[in-house]
Symmetry: C2
Subunit: 145 residues, 2 copies
């Protein structure tokens, strides 16, 4: 089942409506490997669909997060970002503090250790965030000068 299907099913099930704005936003959001903030996605959408309002983008992103198609990210720059959840493997992020580049990584051994830690404290993990901040290869080369 693809993501558009998941979304329309979720809308029907919640008694919500399948509007053209929602479909456009979902489509642009999915066809991107970026980590959009509400503002960025709004600006991008405005080029092709000038009538879509900021609030609609915001509310749709929230909706996508609710139904599990998007996850909210926060890299400490004061903006909430969203990325598509591709049902697949969970990943975390390397964030370059100089150029802003974001690299996704997967490390099952870390996931496993997390579970171990949680168990140690009787905790039941529902989600987690793990971000490594530093200089990407390009930026650390540049700063050696």
């Amino acid at each position: 089942m693809d993501q558009i299907q998941i979304f329309t099913d979720y809308l029907r099930q919640q008694g919500l409506k399948n509007t053209s704005q929602r479909m456009v936003i979902l489509e642009v959001f999915l066809n991107s490997n970026l980590h959009y903030s509400t503002e960025e996605l709004y600006l991008k959408l405005r080029k092709s669909h000038p009538r879509i309002g900021y609030a609609t983008v915001h509310r749709t992103l929230k909706l996508l997060a609710e139904c599990g198609l998007a996850s909210e990210l926060n890299f400490g720059d004061g903006q909430t970002r969203y990325e598509p959840c591709r049902g697949g493997q969970h990943h975390d992020h390397l964030v370059c503090t100089r150029c802003g580049k974001i690299i996704e990584f997967v490390e099952p051994r870390i996931e496993k250790l997390q579970e171990e830690v949680a168990e140690r404290y009787g905790f039941k993990i529902m989600s987690h965030r793990h971000e490594l901040y530093g200089l990407c290869s390009d930026c650390s080369v540049a700063s050696e000068s």
Copy 2:
């Protein structure tokens, strides 16, 4: 060298001044195991020192973060929190999404794997955040009913 010493040295070195407000804020901040937001610390301080303004608390916390005595935390509730850095071992956090309890944990094996991941991408880690969200032992018992 204790933390008050570190702070006064830092101030002198930067040509900044050692004011009574800064000392009071530092003291209250250090003598706490909480993870204060600016607002919480301001409210707490106001009881004993009603003349200290919000902006001063805010600027002092920033200053403490700058000189390495505090680290900024963000658990996604829209408030930046600060915790004292005790020069010791780095730790991360378990956050109970029901009652708000925060538990600190240390897991050197995770730190090590992080380095490994960073190396894989030519990244030079400067800092990181790792938070596990879920239910603490009390809350997951309560929700079993």
